[in-house]
């Protein structure tokens, strides 16, 4: 059965009208035939998986043909905004979901800025894309009306030029009535580390969504609409004030995120001896990259739609004659780590410039940084040589060569074509099999967070079981390193729904922390809340299930208990695991890089610490048990039947 038959069957089961106040339609777009269909996510799906990321999983589960390959145009690419996106402070997020050409497993990533909110302003909660456009195409959604535009004039443009051109050509104004998701040359060229840009820096980053969108022949989706009020079940703005007050009263927001942004974790990580350095061969690095050193280059902060936090730091290197990469947005903590210590760079100015280049080239700094660090270690070990790199010497800390390699990666030029194949470089014959020993990746996805998790066992488990691969944003129990919480066992037990060891290096009950985080983060994604301002990621006092259920009742009229919402979070993970199972993922894939099992941590107060295979395996079994998963990591039979019923499968 082809994608059109799958879509027709699915649409035939879907309602034609909104099922609750504020619900937007799902727009199915056949790019090859330039046809669209609209329908609404069934209520049973919303009650099981909510919206945003959760409902995206419903669409992927129903439309996926795993006999194809990820870049086949019959494999859909799905954008989805959360149930509260655009309405609630700090809920400005949406997800994009598909089958990852980079990892080979689930592709699912989240971004904010303005597109997810403005998509809803145009009346759409989800956009399901399939078929390959015969020529570069741009989808224009203007006041809810969808048209197909010629994308050829924008082909070859990277992010800075593309944003300038679209603002000029549409007459719209960014952040007022204009928003866009777009690919760059990297996406056009099928670069597996390429993302879909959602703003000057905001990016649907992980798993190669830029390459996927490029394979559909789609350069951009542009929305133009005035911001408008949604019809809601009952007034919701009074409770918005409660949420905003809760956000701004929390010290992590008031004192840190809104003033400095996110690079704070660099210092604790390096002091712990947990800062991934030179492809995690080392674990500590220079104080020259501590967050305070960025202050002099930060002229201000910006934020997402209707978010009171403004956590996005701008940068300006104060060059007398600046070029286009001496000013920009960022860096975030991930980029600081992946383009600082993990590449042996010790100058903050170099990190900022490389960050700005990645923003323009549309590269995921986590995957691009991982691909580079892997190549540099292989070169250091003599596994690859200048004969493989086209004469380039890969020397740790050589920012000029790294800058050049980023452009080569985006263009798939010379050794850049190898880097563009990211974690698949061995499979595609670029590197010998022994290179796999030095690949820091899980399920084919390079690590996102630069934190070396040989010390922190909840963090390690989270990276192993994350459904999209090695990524901290799915379930990181960040509070594992907060001493005040570790020293208050009763409070910690309340947070995680059971006792969790206070010892960072202990394996005891760490599965509970990961389970709790995975559930609430999945709910947060599905309602559109930012991770930074969701309970348990950075603080125990930020909005969580209670606030989500209260505002869902106000906005949608749908009543959930906190336990039911928690179950929705578990359900999202369950469907993601069902999808991954169809893609061949098994228990053996819920693991960690060999280096973390085999090589002791080389520095810091936890020198010698590593992951014990036996202890890890037992922790994984306990995680499966409390997650209602079989020994192979898929939902148990009874739960699988419940999910299948909700999915209509």
């Amino acid at each position: 059965m082809g994608i059109r038959e799958r879509v027709a069957r699915l649409v035939g089961e879907m309602p034609r009208d909104a099922q609750f106040p504020s619900q937007g339609a799902t727009l199915f777009v056949d790019l090859e035939r330039r046809e669209t269909i609209t329908a609404y996510t069934p209520l049973g799906v919303t009650r099981t998986l909510l919206g945003g990321r959760g409902a995206n999983m419903y669409y992927l589960y129903r439309l996926l043909d795993e006999s194809l390959s990820p870049l086949d145009p019959d494999i859909p690419m799905i954008f989805g905004s959360g149930l509260l996106t655009g309405l609630v402070p700090s809920a400005a997020r949406g997800n994009v979901t598909s089958w990852s050409p980079e990892s080979g497993v689930l592709l699912d990533c989240n971004a904010g800025d303005y597109f997810p909110s403005f998509l809803r302003m145009n009346g759409f909660d989800h956009v399901v894309l399939y078929g390959k456009a015969p020529a570069w195409t741009m989808i224009m959604i203007r006041e809810g009306v969808v048209t197909f535009e010629d994308g050829a004039p924008y082909a070859g443009m990277d992010n800075i030029d593309m944003r300038d051109a679209i603002a000029r050509d549409t007459g719209g104004t960014w952040a007022r009535n204009l928003a866009m998701v777009n690919i760059t040359r990297a996406g056009e060229n099928g670069v597996l580390t390429s993302g879909v840009m959602a703003g000057p820096k905001a990016i649907y980053a992980r798993g190669g969504p830029g390459a996927k969108m490029g394979a559909l022949g789609l350069k951009a989706i542009v929305t133009i609409a005035q911001t408008k009020e949604f019809p809601t079940a009952q007034p919701y703005k009074p409770y918005n004030r409660v949420i905003a007050q809760k956000l701004l009263a929390t010290s992590v927001v008031k004192n840190a995120l809104s003033v400095h942004g996110t690079p704070f974790l660099y210092k604790p990580s390096r002091l712990l001896g947990a800062m991934g350095t030179k492809n995690n061969q080392e674990t500590t690095w220079t104080e020259a990259l501590d967050a305070g050193h960025i202050d002099q280059y930060r002229p201000g902060m910006e934020g997402c739609f209707r978010c009171p936090v403004n956590c996005r730091p701008l940068n300006d290197l104060h060059k007398a004659t600046p070029d286009r990469y001496d000013k920009g947005d960022g860096p975030e903590y991930v980029t600081l780590g992946k383009f600082g210590p993990n590449l042996g760079i010790d100058r903050i100015e170099s990190v900022i410039r490389l960050n700005n280049i990645c923003n323009d080239l549309g590269l995921d700094t986590a995957s691009a940084g991982s691909a580079l660090a892997w190549a540099f270690e292989l070169y250091q070990r003599g596994i690859i040589t200048t004969a493989d790199t086209g004469g380039l010497e890969l020397v740790w800390g050589d920012a000029a060569t790294i800058e050049r390699l980023l452009f080569m990666m985006a263009a798939r030029e010379g050794f850049g074509a190898v880097l563009a194949d990211s974690t698949r470089a061995v499979e595609r014959g670029h590197y010998p099999p022994e290179a796999m020993k030095y690949r820091i990746a899980v399920k084919g996805l390079g690590q996102s967070d630069p934190h070396d998790a040989r010390i922190l066992k909840a963090f390690a488990l989270g990276l192993a079981v994350a459904t999209r691969g090695m990524d901290h944003l799915r379930n990181r129990a960040t509070l594992e390193i907060n001493a005040r919480i570790n020293d208050n066992p009763a409070f910690k037990e309340e947070l995680y729904g059971g006792a969790v060891s206070a010892e960072p290096t202990s394996y005891v009950n760490k599965e509970r922390a990961v389970r709790a985080c995975e559930n609430i983060f999945a709910v947060g994604d599905s309602v559109g809340m930012c991770r930074f301002t969701t309970k348990l990621f950075n603080s125990p006092s930020l909005p969580g299930l209670e606030e989500f259920r209260n505002q869902l009742a106000n906005v949608t009229g749908l009543q959930f208990t906190e336990a039911e919402l928690d179950q929705c979070g578990l359900n999202v993970m369950g469907v993601e695991r069902l999808i991954n199972h169809r893609l061949g993922v098994r228990r053996k894939d819920d693991t960690l890089p060999d280096r973390w099992f085999d090589e002791p941590n080389p520095a810091g107060p936890y020198k010698g610490e590593r992951i014990d295979r036996g202890e890890f395996d037992a922790m994984l079994s306990r995680f499966y048990e409390i997650s209602r998963l079989t020994s192979e990591g898929v939902p148990q039979e009874s739960w699988r039947k419940e999910l299948a019923g909700a999915l209509g499968a």
């Binding site: 004192n255 020293d487 960072p504």
Partner: protein
């Protein structure tokens, strides 16, 4: 006795400053009380999971209040937040 304490810019008390505590203190709990006397409200602000404490660049992840503090130590208040 003298213990140097460095404060991050993100604190509202003694932001970005470095102070020397000359009271006799034997552990972190007592040090925080001494800081409270220097800057009222400081103890409450530090009783927050955002902030960790490092002694001579060793970050403390648990059992903080009972950790010994010695003459000449350098103590640092470190915000710990993760990002994307």
């Amino acid at each position: 006795m003298s213990v140097t304490v460095n404060f991050p810019a993100s604190l509202s008390h003694l932001a970005g400053q470095s102070v020397v505590v000359r009271e006799s203190v034997s552990n972190v709990g007592q040090l925080i009380q001494a800081l409270e006397r220097l800057a009222p409200g400081m103890a409450k602000e530090l009783d927050d999971p955002l902030y960790n404490i490092a002694i001579n660049e060793e970050i403390l992840l648990h059992s903080v209040d009972s950790r010994p503090v010695n003459d000449g130590d350098v103590v640092e208040i470190i915000p710990s937040i993760a990002g994307g």
